[in-house]
Amino acid sequence: MKKTIPLLIVILGGLIWVAWAFSPHYILQEVFYNQFYLPWAYASSPFAMLLGVLSLTMMHSNKIKTRGPKWQYSYFFFGSFIITCLAGFIGGIQKGSLFMWMFENVQMPMSATMFSLLAFYMASAAYKAFRARSPEATVLLVAAIVVMLAQVPLGVQISKHLPSISQWILDVPNLASKRGIMLGVGLGSVATSLKILLGIERSYLGGGD
């Protein structure tokens, strides 16, 4: 019973959506979509954010309670979270407020820097791990080197044919392999969506009764 009603919602609602994709009828396009689905989707969506807040709060407070590894740093999480929320709710979110200043000068640089660490790890991997152990790996490395050289202005100076060779690699073998993979992925995702639509796939409902 606890799983049946949500399952029925997905199956019936999903079938109405399939009809929506094909039919321009007023009841489907206006009544179902504009007057029912959209306002309901907007009204139910903001609460999903609270899920993330609760989850992280529970995890960090557990860590502090049980004195887990590096538990002291959880205070930094709570401190920054509370200050950001207070700054946002009390000070407002317009440009120039403390809230936006914290986001632009603390969060944005840190978030960008986290990603930029990947460049170092990749250079280290290039030196220590990328080995041409087999003919296939050699072909992969050669293709990578050609594309890498052709991307940069220096490539044109090394050989004026390099950009067109690289463009050929991207336009022909790369396209063929990505298209094959995309077709496979597309077929797989359509199959999964059909399974969800027909109620065969139920993992999204979670475990338990």
């Binding site: 280290s124 290039a126 990328f130 202005p153 336009d171």
Partner: protein
């Protein structure tokens, strides 16, 4: 331990130092280099340029990323905004991420500084953060003003001058999505089949290879891939959209036949392949405005009251008239007026730093790529030699 074993066991922190130096040094010493434009970039440029000066056409830029991917995507966004502001193309911007909203503000404010005539609600409109992307994407196919309702500043869309002539995707005919992942997916899957919207993407280079099937099938009309795509676009904007002809008076908007006079010039392959166009997209600072004799005569005819001042500033070099803007004193600048000074500054073909960030970055990219290739080769040499020695033993 012989040298090859030591090479294999090198502490990774030395590698990190080499990487850091390989990037810092080229960034501090700018030099001119050429980024060859590829067809996906040129197609996008030409499509946007075809909307130049039209009231019934607009583009939509979707900033579907956060600060982490800004180094690659932000220069693209700035270059496209500059193109649109130069060539009078209406621009709408939005984001589906809360973290994308400040990025839109950064991009627009940074480009707007150089275009004092550009106004919000007239030449561009920022929708800001909008939730429920799927509903918005489909709703805009019917009517943009009803779906979006208000812009980021809270103004009702139907009252804004920019919406004159723009109803839905038939007019806002190009959507460009900037993303580090799944760029353009929603537009290609939902908006394009239903409404015939043209879609283009600006992606990080990681995703670029995966987008080629969509390019070939026509589902994407163009693509900017990573920092290189941004550098290519910046170059095209410098050569075409930001180009100013000294003979034309751009303060007149309509000529005698009733045709619009738009700043810049349309895309032309012969101009792009001509060597002289390389001088239009230089990275190093340019301070000298160069004219041929005819061009100088036409330029000075536009400002007859400052003819004497121009003649005092000019010098001759290889049959070209040169005016060095660094030699203009503040008194001379106030005498000639801001309009003439700005036009002279334009004619030096100097690009501001913020409009050549990607090209400067590509120089560092050159060095970094060579470094990575050297690492791969060295690592493999050491590995194979060690393997051969072990096999011998």
């Amino acid at each position: 331990m012989n040298i090859f074993e030591r090479m294999q066991k090198l502490d990774r922190r030395w590698i990190y130092i080499v990487v850091a130096l390989a990037i810092i040094i080229p960034l501090m010493i700018p030099y001119d280099s050429d980024n060859v434009a590829t067809p996906p970039t040129e197609n996008l440029y030409q499509m946007i340029d075809s909307f130049a000066g039209r009231e019934d056409r607009a583009i939509l830029m979707s900033f579907y990323h956060d600060a982490a991917t800004m180094p690659e995507l932000f220069p693209m966004e700035v270059a496209i905004l500059r193109h649109c502001f130069e060539r009078n193309v209406k621009v709408f911007t939005l984001t589906w991420f809360p973290a994308g909203a400040p990025i839109i503000d950064y991009a627009i404010n940074s480009v707007k500084e150089e275009f004092p005539d550009i106004q919000s609600g007239v030449d561009y409109c920022n929708f800001g953060y909008k939730p429920q992307a799927f509903a918005m994407v489909l709703g805009m196919g019917d009517n943009i003003a009803n779906t979006m309702n208000t812009d980021a500043e809270g103004r009702k869309l139907e009252n804004l001058p920019i919406m004159k002539g723009i109803n839905n995707y038939s007019e806002m005919n190009l959507a460009i999505e900037f993303s580090g992942s799944s760029a353009g997916g929603m537009w290609i899957t939902y908006a394009r089949p239903k409404y015939g919207l043209n879609v283009a993407v600006g992606v990080t280079a990681v995703m670029a290879a995966d987008m080629y099937p969509y390019l070939q099938s026509g589902q994407l009309i163009g693509m900017l891939s990573g920092l290189k795509g941004a550098a290519e676009y910046e170059k095209l904007v410098d050569i075409f959209a930001a180009y100013r002809d000294p003979k034309i008076d751009y303060s007149i908007k309509v000529d005698e036949d009733g045709n619009q006079i738009l700043p810049g010039r349309p895309f032309g392959r012969e101009i792009l392949e001509d060597d002289s166009s390389k001088k239009l997209s230089l990275i190093t600072t340019q301070t000298k405005a160069k004219f041929s004799m005819d061009e100088f005569a036409a330029f000075s005819a536009k400002y007859p009251e400052n003819m004497a001042l121009l003649n005092s500033l000019r010098s001759l070099e290889d049959d070209m008239v040169i005016i060095d803007v660094t030699q203009i004193t503040p008194e001379q600048r106030s005498q000639m007026g801001e309009t003439m000074y700005r036009e002279l500054d334009r004619l030096t073909r100097n690009t501001l730093y913020k409009f050549k960030v990607a090209r400067i970055g590509m120089n560092a990219q050159s060095v970094a790529h060579i470094m990575i290739i050297v690492f791969i080769v060295l690592g493999n040499i050491g590995y194979f030699i060690q393997k051969a020695r072990q096999a011998k033993n």
